[in-house]
């Protein structure tokens, strides 16, 4: 099994970090960088498949696990992830517990699937019946709480010393997404039309927190991280959740305020730091606005959607926007053969990687229906087809 590390001059001319940074700066490195995110079951299967010893795992409530450096290095990922802490007093989450209420007051319940697997799903939204005045009294997490950065500088510094992978950090605050989680999706979408003052007040409140947490966290570790990942779903399978006009008028001002803060913080300590935003689904009509509010990287450019044609997106936006993701997890990764995975990778690289500006990854965390052989096929195909200059 090939190991893609800096010691092998034939396989690698750049460090993993340089590979990622160059591509995000719209230059062609030696290879298309490779990233992969996991839920717990396929990760455990992969660890076994790679012949590595079992690992103690601490999945979050989305069942996501952070690959250990052993897996990062054996699999050949070009990235690793760092997570901020949480305000003091945040209830502790233990994987497998029946229900959990997080620092936002969001209550998650364990929902069993027939085959014994489970997922944590949101239960009663805490702001379902709130008025604007109630927003003042809600126990919001404090962006200045020491808990967000407890031990963070030490962990970031240690990670930076131990690996030359690019470091991604997730900002634990969304604006649009947290608004609909707190309010209930149906209710919040109705608010946007029928109760816009409330919708905007809620998003402003979340933006204040997001800006504060971004300052706190980047003030602590901005010099160590390469990409700040912001999560805020605005797309669905067939169209954006909201009209482009509504996105522009009601959401973009808040996004712009947050991303300007991130850029400002990066400018003090890390001029090469990049902002990546995550949104599933069809967001083509919103991409120009996303660029205008300051994002550098769009994730995951979910494939096989009408309206998310990769060639078109690359052609129209590729000079101003980099892409991360692109590999189908609704069909290819769970149900495809290894040959189909390779063909998928080849297609995505052809469409998104010319000129740099692309990190290949599955379009979301791999679920328990993805076999480890397909993860290896994903890695192998990225190296086979992702060497620059690309052959068509």
């Amino acid at each position: 099994m090939a190991c893609f590390c800096r010691k092998n001059p034939v396989m690698a001319e750049f460090t993993h970090r340089e590979r990622v940074l160059l591509t995000l700066e719209h230059q062609e490195p030696d290879f298309v960088p490779f990233d992969c995110t996991f839920t717990v079951a396929p990760y455990q299967a992969l660890v076994k498949y790679l012949g590595l010893p079992p690992e103690p795992l601490n999945p979050n409530m989305w069942l996501e696990v952070r690959p250990s450096l052993a897996v990062v290095e054996t699999l050949g990922l070009d990235t690793c992830y760092l997570d901020a802490g949480s305000p003091k007093g945040t209830p502790e989450f233990t994987f497998g517990m029946d229900q959990y209420t997080d620092v936002w007051g969001l209550n998650f319940r364990k929902i069993m699937q027939s085959d014994g697997n489970f997922y944590y799903e949101l239960h009663t939204p805490p702001l379902a019946n709130a008025t604007i005045d109630d927003l003042d009294d809600y126990p919001w997490p404090d962006p200045k709480d020491d808990g967000w950065t407890e031990g963070l500088t030490e962990r970031a510094s240690l990670l930076r010393k131990r690996t030359d992978r690019a470091i991604f950090l997730e900002l634990p605050v969304g604006i649009f997404e947290h608004a609909y989680l707190l309010r209930g999706m149906q209710k919040f979408l109705i608010d946007l039309v029928a109760n816009p003052d409330f919708a905007v007040a809620l998003m402003d409140r979340l933006c204040d927190i997001a800006v504060g947490v971004a300052r706190t966290v980047l003030g602590s570790v901005g010099q160590y991280i390469d990409v700040l990942k912001h999560l805020d779903d605005t797309g669905s399978q067939h169209a954006p959740m909201i009209s482009p006009q509504m996105f522009q008028q009601m959401v973009c001002p808040r996004f712009k305020r947050l991303f300007q803060t991130v850029k400002e913080e990066f400018s003090h300590c890390n001029p090469r730091g990049k902002i990546m935003t995550h949104t599933d689904g069809v967001v083509y009509p919103l991409i120009e606005d996303y660029i205008n509010v300051g994002i550098d990287v769009l994730n995951p450019v979910q494939p096989n959607l009408e309206g998310m044609d990769h060639k078109r997106i690359k052609r129209e936006f590729g000079d101003r926007l980099a892409f991360h993701g692109g590999v189908d997890i609704q069909h290819t990764m769970p149900f495809g053969t290894t040959e189909e995975v390779a063909a998928e990778v080849h297609q995505r690289i052809n469409d998104l990687a010319p000129g740099g500006g692309y990190i290949l990854a599955p379009a979301h965390n791999l679920q328990h229906d993805v076999p480890p052989a397909n993860v290896i096929a994903l890695r192998d195909a990225t190296r086979e087809f992702g060497r620059y200059p690309l052959k068509n």
Binding site: Q113, S114, F118, Y119, L189, H238, Q330, H331
Partner: protein, 210 residues
């Protein structure tokens, strides 16, 4: 068309719940029959909503407020429709499958079908095959609609179809499916009668299947 019916139509389209209720009351005062108000006011408006959604002029928020207005108008008409023995266009049982709580897509389909004159029985989310089968036995619907968001819960749809076969009522209903990872190919594979990619096209599908 009666001018008040046009006002109801516009109020639903604009998602104006209060206006819809006022104009429905006005139409009733003008002795417009409840069935005519339902068809010319509410159903026609929701049909236009569906078309605008398919064209990309309306998005989920606009569809939700229109549906909410339609439901408010329908609530005023329901007792009168029952009195006049007006039958719904059909009866549909809905649910999101076991292990899955995502329901906004299913809710939109239910609203659009209600807006097309169908009677809706919504079982909610995390619905087991046995619960679906029991609902079919109890309510004798024309259609059963199932939704799933995750590739890992999608296989439940096959389990529901098997549960209907096990108690020998599969042939009494048409089964339609939808949800982000669901495709026509999957529907054919598991023996469903149809697949719709969105709420508006679900109405078209249901009409075709009846």
């Amino acid at each position: 068309m009666n001018a008040t019916l046009k006002e109801i139509f516009e109020a639903v389209l604009a998602g104006n719940k209060n206006e819809t209720e006022d104009k429905v009351k006005k139409a009733l005062d003008e002795n417009v029959g409840p069935e005519e108000i339902l068809k010319g006011g509410l159903i026609d408006a929701m049909s236009e909503v569906g078309e605008r959604f398919e064209r990309g002029d309306y998005y989920v928020p606009e569809m939700l407020v229109a549906a909410r207005s339609m439901q408010a108008g329908l609530a005023l008409l329901k007792p009168l429709l029952m009195e006049a023995n007006v039958k719904p266009a059909g009866r549909v049982v809905f649910g999101t499958v076991k292990g899955d709580l995502h329901d906004i897509g299913k809710n939109l389909v239910a609203m659009m079908l209600e807006g097309a004159g169908y009677e809706i029985i919504d079982l909610g989310a995390d619905v087991s095959p046995a619960q679906f089968a029991e609902a079919v036995r109890e309510h004798s619907p024309d259609i059963v609609g199932m939704s799933a968001l995750l590739t890992t819960t999608m296989p439940e749809m096959k389990n529901v179809i098997e549960a209907l076969e096990d108690i020998r009522i599969r042939d009494r209903v048409k089964v339609i499916i939808g949800g982000a990872p669901v495709t026509q190919e999957y529907a054919t594979k598991i023996g469903a009668d149809g697949f719709a990619p969105d709420a508006s096209r679900a109405v078209t599908l249901v009409r075709q299947l009846q």
